[in-house]
Symmetry: C2
Subunit: 132 residues, 2 copies
DNA sequence: ATGCACCTTGTAGTAACTACAAGGTCAAGC
DNA sequence: GCTTGACCTTGTAGTTACTACAAGGTGCAT
């Protein structure tokens, strides 16, 4: 598949796809005789992953690490374990925050259904004491 | 409390706090006689909220909307409902993605404990078909 | 009176895109 | 065979959300 179609499918602009290639986060795909980039389903999955992970607030550096977990099949268990655990911690913190936010948004919607506006506690939902 | 202490507590740099004030996402606090910004617990909570929401991948525009939900206590139920529902949808999508990622990271860690490296399916965890 | 935290304005750098221009290639349809 | 649209390249510049630093000044504790 060519870059335009990949862009349409994944919702990532062609220019951003080329940018990812320059940054080395997406491998340079084979080219057609016409020198067009020729993508397959693996690149589509990888690009979807990058897009989702970015949307979840992971930095490119963090995404690179996650992709490395996936790419380096022949790395040591200890290395995988440490990295995966650190990512798992971050993921779990994010889930907790989002669940608090979800609860609070749900509460507000429910209050609205009763026509009782009620007060908004969104801020309190996310604003626990901060960790260093 | 002064800006430096607020920065230490929330993990947001002093310069970023002043930047948020310029951007109008954080109200200008009262000043001490020495013209120092004087913050209270409400600003601390708001700043923690902003920091967490940014970490979760929400744009400043989206955070502004969330804060508006919180600030405009006297707005229409219909307006609150529509906005809250749209944010709830985004939050739920993010939670689903993170849960898939958590499962996969957990699976990898478990495989490592068995000393069986196993293959990494992180990409597949996040790379469902894309929505437009 | 020395030093540190704060104040201001302003400029410039970073990350992760996003856009557009200039000039060229390729393949399908009229 | 020629136009049209999608792609190719390199390069520059704009955007968002910070982050850093400089210059020059104030407040306050030791």
């Amino acid at each position: 598949m060519r870059i335009g179609q990949l862009a349409r499918i994944t919702g990532v602009k062609s220019e951003t796809i080329r940018f990812y290639e320059r940054e080395g986060i997406l491998a340079a795909p084979p080219r057609t005789r016409a020198n067009y980039r020729d993508y397959g389903p693996a690149e589509e999955a990888r690009l979807n992953f990058i897009r989702r992970a970015r949307d979840l607030g992971f930095s490119m550096a963090r995404i690179r690490e996650l992709l490395d977990l996936s790419d380096d099949a022949d790395r040591s268990c200890a290395g995988i374990d440490a990295l995966a655990r650190s990512h798992l911690g971050e993921v779990e913190r994010k889930i907790s925050s989002l669940e608090a936010l979800r609860t609070e948004l749900g509460r507000m919607i429910a209050a609205c259904e009763q026509d009782t506006v009620g007060d908004c506690r969104i801020i309190d939902a996310l604003a626990g004491t901060a960790e260093p």
